[in-house]
């Protein structure tokens, strides 16, 4: 009887352990893949903790695909695995799409300033409906929201790193965005927006699209 009880207890403990491990293991749905996309085409630091003060364990080359397991609070740092290391990288240097261009061994950039055409044709726009985080070209910079999809158009206001906007329409270069906090809508270059989640399609009275 005693032996049966001990055996039963051991089996129960093993079962519970398996459940805990299975719960903790990232599933296919929990893991996402991103590419390292630094503006200078240099490597990205993989750190021991979610802070620029943390020790650097490895440097992940530009364009490398990495597996993201989790995010630190605020989503500015992501937990990932690279080589034999597991650590944190800054999410502003990650891209869901494989970046173009080659890695730079000396962290200099064969930079092209071409991030989109000067202006867009409205008829090529397609409905989008997702949230996007603003990602200026530098951490301290800003991105213009303009009256129309052209760099020659006046600026309505500027947005800084991490501010979230709702994307309504887009083509390969421009997005019509809506700031839910202020009710302001305008156009922003798509290069400076990072996908941040799905949004509900909602009717907005913004203005009339005038075709030339």
């Amino acid at each position: 009887m005693k032996k049966n009880l001990i055996a039963f207890g051991l089996v129960l403990i093993m079962l519970c352990s398996c459940m805990v491990v299975a719960y903790a293991m990232p599933t296919e749905h929990d893991v996402t893949y991103y590419y390292v996309d630094t503006s200078n085409h240099g490597s990205l630091n993989l750190r021991q903790a979610a802070s620029t003060d943390a020790d650097v364990m490895a440097q992940i080359p530009y364009g490398t695909q990495i597996m993201i397991y989790d995010y630190a609070p605020g989503d500015k740092w992501a937990l990932c695995a690279y080589d034999q290391y597991e650590g944190y990288v800054m999410t502003r240097y990650l891209n869901g799409n494989r970046p173009s261009g080659r890695a730079s061994s000396s962290a200099t950039s064969s930079t092209s300033t071409s991030v989109g055409s000067e202006s867009a044709e409205y008829k090529r726009m397609e409905a989008a409906y997702y949230y996007a985080a603003v990602r200026p070209s530098t951490p301290s910079g800003y991105v213009h929201m303009r009256w129309a999809p052209s760099k020659k158009e006046p600026v309505i206001r500027d947005f800084y790193d991490g501010q979230v906007l709702k994307v309504l329409y887009q083509d390969q270069n421009w997005c019509q965005v809506y700031d839910e906090a202020t009710g302001v809508s305008g156009w922003m270059m798509r290069h400076f927006l990072i996908y941040a989640g799905e949004a509900q399609a909602t009717a907005y009275t913004i203005g009339t699209i005038v075709t030339e």
Binding site: T52, T111, T113, P139
Partner: protein, 178 residues
Amino acid sequence: MKKLLCILLTMLLSCTAAFAEATDQSVTLESPAKNFTIKATLPQGLSKGQVVLTEDYAAIDFDNSDNTACSYILIVAPSEEYANKNLSDLSDDERNAILSIMVADCDQVDYGTVTLENGNTMLYYTESGAADMGNILDVHDGYFIQLTYVHNEATPILESDMLAAEALMNTLIYEEIQ
């Protein structure tokens, strides 16, 4: 009587000088990781405005009592691409790379490097046309420190505005936090 006048004049001059010194306001901004502070000396007419502290950046507004002049915002944000580096450590190619991506969102823009009175070299770019704004950028210990200036009434940036911004950046002192 003459002695009394001399004494009164001396007192008046002393008070004026003390008042002039008192109007130069010193403000301090902490970096997001709290490893160093930035001290800036504001000239007469500028006052400390709103301070914003997030995980990504620290920002401070400088309001200008003169509506015909510029207001400023100073932002400090960490960069992993230039971690632990100063602007003086970067090559010309790296500086040009930073400038080229900063002006990618601009239409009519003038950009380059500027050497301040204290000998420090910084990056600058000035937009005109669709947006009238100026920027001066420094890199310190892997952090981007950017001063953006714009007229309250969105009028074009003048050379005097650029010189005033350079003078403000010239007062920056970085102090490590122990």
